[in-house]
Structure formats: structure tokens, C-alpha cells
């Protein structure tokens, strides 16, 4: 059967090595450590790619289209204002700083008008 995911492929390879060379041929702890280390390496690469992609997009938003991971897309008209990587003075309608303003004024309101339990 063809493995559906990388994880299944890995498990199949592991099963076949163990079937051929014996159950103790691969040390469980060493294996766990390798999997954890590699997992972290991939995750770090992902974070770096995510942040670098944003930076490149901020420099050339019109021409560059880089995505660290293939993310979901849904058919809907695009927002009119192209957004670049957020900076402290961004004024796009969906700038993160505006969201934070919204959050802070909400907190102030809650102080005056204590919220639900």
C-alpha cells in the first residue's frame, strides 16, 4: 500500500527495518531523540521562512509571492489594500497596530464596565 503521509512512510520504513534486523535493531530513545531534533529543525526552518518571506514581501509586495507553507485559500474577492509586513507605523485598514488599539480600548471599556463573569 502506498503511504499517505510522511509519517506513515516513516512508520512503514521502521517496521520493515525492525522486521529485517530484529526489534532491538533501533534504539527507541535514540529514535525519539532523532525525531524530536529533526522536528525542531523543520519547525525552526518554517519560522525563519515565515518571517523572511514577510520581509521579502514587504520589500517587493507586487512581484514576490513566497509562502513558507501551502496555506488554505478560499475564493473571495481580495481586500483592496495590499498589505505589507507590519511595521510600527502601518496604516492599512487591517494593520496589527490598529487591532492592538482595538484591544486596548476594549480593555479600558471593560475596566469601566466590568465584564461578564
Amino acid at each position: 500500500m502506498t503511504p499517505a503521509t510522511a509519517e506513515e512512510e516513516f512508520l512503514q520504513a521502521l517496521t520493515s527495518v525492525r522486521a529485517t534486523y530484529g526489534i532491538t535493531s533501533i534504539d527507541e530513545d535514540a529514535l525519539k531523540e532523532i525525531v524530536a531534533t529533526e522536528g525542531n529543525r523543520v519547525a525552526d526552518a518554517f519560522v525563519i521562512a515565515e518571517l523572511i518571506a514577510s520581509r521579502l514581501a514587504a520589500q517587493q509586495p507586487a512581484t514576490i509571492s513566497i509562502s513558507a507553507t501551502p496555506k488554505t485559500s478560499i475564493s473571495k474577492p481580495p481586500p483592496s489594500a495590499p498589505t505589507t509586513f507590519p511595521t510600527g507605523n502601518s496604516s492599512s485598514p487591517l494593520s496589527i497596530a490598529d487591532f492592538i488599539d482595538g484591544m486596548l480600548s476594549q480593555e479600558k471599556r471593560d475596566v469601566h464596565q466590568p465584564a461578564h463573569p
Binding site: 525542531n40 519547525a43 525552526d44 518554517f46 519560522v47 525563519i48 515565515e50 518571517l51 523572511i52 518571506a53 514577510s54 520581509r55 521579502l56 514581501a57 514587504a58 509586495p61 514576490i64 509571492s65 513566497i66 509562502s67 513558507a68 507553507t69 496555506k71 488554505t72 485559500s73 478560499i74 475564493s75 473571495k76 481580495p78 481586500p79 489594500a81 495590499p82 498589505t83 505589507t84 509586513f85 507590519p86 511595521t87 510600527g88 507605523n89 502601518s90 485598514p93 487591517l94 494593520s95 496589527i96 497596530a97 487591532f99 492592538i100 488599539d101 482595538g102 484591544m103 486596548l104 476594549q106 471593560d110 475596566v111 465584564a115 461578564h116
Partner: protein, 382 residues
């Protein structure tokens, strides 16, 4: 800026213990570091980089746990004869330390251990101890004022400026692909989505619709992975009395096999009980425990959908994203989607954030830290 003074009352490390990272000297700071911090019940993630640049100096996931080395441990057993260990190191030396989980159900349960954990985070961000640290911390949706204040109190004298932002909103920011905003066919999750973040202590649901989510847009349920562990553990104790399985082991079993939806049988799990290997058939027990989560979060999900405006709800239904460790439970997306469909909701689509769920909150937090205006940062004052 003023250098906050550490209030002694907040530094109550357990007797005979001294914090491993010393209290900082008065700063002659020139450098500012920005950090995004997902302070999780089980795992925390920290990302940091210098202000004014997009460089990433630190990216680390570590278990949210502090280990205080027991008295009388012989020199050399613990590397560097440290008195406090953190994260994996604490877990690896479980026998030699008193393990404390600083956070429970998403809020600070042990202030002293939390401060030590924060000190550790600080020293990872800035080993020199001289930089100004501005940190955005992810907190569960609708966290009480008291719980927020606890985080601020524990941060006094460790971080310099802080912003507390709800985790599901940070997940949306982290999940947002900045390079695709404005492209045809890409819906910015920040414009219209519903995030379901299933963590260890809490499940947080949040509608994000183009402005900062109000309290009505967020629901926090104190039922998540840890509660599933408890149900499964009780079930195992009922089925196999005196099994001697630790909560840690039960969690491992859950993480390897948990599923939701119709019963899957058999699920044979090999465990060591009393030194001997046993095969346990746990299909039903695992399903029962994990399906409880669906019963808890589904009503909250439909409540948030019902509160959406008629203009936005169709797109919202297409953009339901499950994240957090609980998103790894097999079948969770399909079961939620089917349930919504069966209940007549219009073409719902439930998606998983993916394996990088651990870092989305911290990525969102770092993006927020980089975007925050000077006047938005809050000072930590005694």
C-alpha cells in the same frame, strides 16, 4: 525609561532555592529585543529578535515546567550543579527535582515558579541581561483581570514592557500568510475566520472578523487535552486496577492514538505494568475520552457562528481552523465539519492549522510585537 523594581513579595522561590538566573543589574541598555511568547499550560514557545529588524535570534519550544533540585543531590549529578532546571532538562532529571508546572488551566498556578520560568525565558532572549525586553504574551480568550494582573506581577523586573493578547487572535495572526494578502483567492484569516485552539488546559474559540475580537467573539472552555488525559486515566484505572500508569504515560498513549468520531476498534496499546509488557485494547476508552471534547466545544462553536452577521457567516463557515495540540486528535476536523453539515450549516469547511500549530501563537505574538506602536506597550510598574 524607568527600570522597574522587583517587588520582593513576588519572588517567593521555594525555601532553600535560589533562582538560577540572577536578578538583573540596573540596565545601561542600548539594545531592545522584541519577543513573542506563547505561555502554554504544557508547552511554551518563544520567538525573539532585535527591535528594528526582522532577524530571528531565538526560536524555542520548551515544556512549561520548572524543576527545583532536591536537597542532598550529590555534586555532578546535575550539569553545572544547577539548583533549578527548566523544560526538557527538568523532565529528564525528574527523579532529582521537585517538578512544578507554573501554569494550570491557562492561568498562573505557581507565581514563584512562573517568575523563575520567566527569568529563564529572559536569559534565552538576552543572555547578556542588559537589553530592554518587550514581550507580547499570548493568554487564553477572555482571561480574567486577576489572571492578567498575575502575569504582569510575575513579569515585574524581568521584562520591561508587555502586551497581553488573546491566543486565538495571535494564532490567526501567526497563521496569516503576509505574502499572499491581496492575492486573488487568498482570504486573510484576520478578516473572517473562526479559530478553535485546543490546548492543554483550555479550548479557546474566537471569531476574527477584521477588527479586534470582542468578548462576545471569544469563548474559553476549561476543558482540553489535560481533561481528556484525566478521563482516560480514570477509565484505565477502572478497566485495569493498579495499573501503575503515570499521567505522563497516559498522555503519551492519548497523543499516539486519540481519535474522535465513531468507535475505532481494536486499538492495541503496549504498556508496561508491574515490569511486564501487556497489550491493552483501548479503542473504546480512547474514543469516549476524546469525544467528550467534541461535546464541550461544539455548542461554543455554534454559538459563535450564530452571533456572526448574515453578511459574513457564509465566508466564516468556510474558514474554521483548528489549532493547538488538540488539533492533532485524529478526525477532529472531519467530525466537526460533519456535525455542522448535519445540523444544516451552509457548506462548512473545518481545516487543521497543521503540524506547526506549536508556533503560530508565538509567530503572531512576534508579529504583534514588531507592529506595536510605542504608546501601546504597557510598562510594568510596582
Amino acid at each position: 525609561m524607568s527600570t522597574p523594581v522587583i517587588a520582593d513579595k513576588n519572588v517567593s522561590t521555594p525555601a532553600a532555592q535560589t533562582p538560577s538566573s540572577p536578578v538583573r543589574p540596573v540596565k545601561t541598555t542600548s539594545k531592545t529585543m522584541l519577543a513573542g511568547f506563547d505561555l502554554g499550560t504544557n508547552k511554551s514557545c518563544i520567538l525573539a529578535g532585535p527591535a528594528g529588524s526582522n532577524d530571528l535570534a531565538l526560536s524555542k519550544v520548551l515544556p512549561t515546567v520548572v524543576g527545583y533540585v532536591k536537597e542532598g543531590i550529590v555534586d555532578g549529578i546535575i550539569a553545572g550543579n544547577a539548583t533549578i532546571l527548566f523544560g526538557e532538562e527538568a523532565l529528564n532529571n525528574m527523579l532529582h527535582v521537585d517538578l512544578i508546572a507554573p501554569i494550570a488551566e491557562g492561568v498562573i498556578a505557581h507565581p514563584a515558579a512562573t517568575r523563575d520560568f520567566f527569568q529563564r525565558i529572559r536569559s534565552l532572549i538576552d543572555p547578556t541581561g542588559l537589553a530592554e525586553i518587550r514581550i507580547v504574551v499570548g493568554i487564553p480568550a477572555n482571561t480574567s483581570d486577576k489572571a492578567r494582573e498575575d502575569i504582569r506581577q510575575c513579569s515585574l523586573g524581568i521584562f520591561d514592557r508587555i502586551l497581553l493578547v488573546p491566543e486565538p487572535f495571535l494564532s490567526a495572526l501567526g497563521f496569516r500568510d503576509d505574502t499572499r494578502i491581496g492575492q486573488n483567492g487568498y482570504v486573510d484569516p484576520v478578516t473572517n475566520s473562526l479559530f478553535i485552539d485546543i490546548g492543554g488546559g483550555t479550548s479557546d474559540l474566537c471569531r476574527v472578523q477584521g477588527c479586534f475580537p470582542s468578548r462576545e467573539d471569544q469563548i474559553c472552555i476549561p476543558f482540553a487535552g489535560d481533561a481528556i488525559d484525566e478521563i482516560l486515566h480514570n477509565e484505565l484505572n477502572r478497566l485495569y486496577p493498579n495499573n501503575g500508569l503515570s499521567r505522563h504515560k497516559v498522555r503519551e498513549i492519548k497523543e499516539a492514538h486519540a481519535y474522535v468520531g465513531p468507535v475505532r476498534k481494536p486499538i492495541d496499546v503496549r504498556v508496561i505494568m508491574g515490569g511486564k509488557a501487556h497489550m491493552l485494547e483501548l479503542g473504546e476508552a480512547l474514543g469516549r475520552a476524546a469525544n467528550t471534547l467534541i461535546e464541550k466545544i461544539y455548542p461554543a462553536l455554534t454559538t459563535l457562528i450564530a452571533r456572526a452577521s448574515s453578511d459574513s457567516v457564509t465566508t466564516l463557515l468556510q474558514n474554521i481552523i483548528v489549532t493547538g495540540g488538540g488539533s492533532q486528535i485524529k478526525g477532529i476536523d472531519a467530525v466537526l465539519q460533519k456535525r455542522l453539515t448535519d445540523d444544516g450549516f451552509e457548506s462548512p469547511k473545518v481545516k487543521l492549522a497543521g503540524l506547526d500549530y506549536k508556533r503560530y501563537v508565538a509567530i503572531g505574538a512576534l508579529k504583534a510585537a514588531r507592529a506595536a506602536r510605542e504608546n501601546q506597550w504597557q510598562y510594568l510598574l510596582t
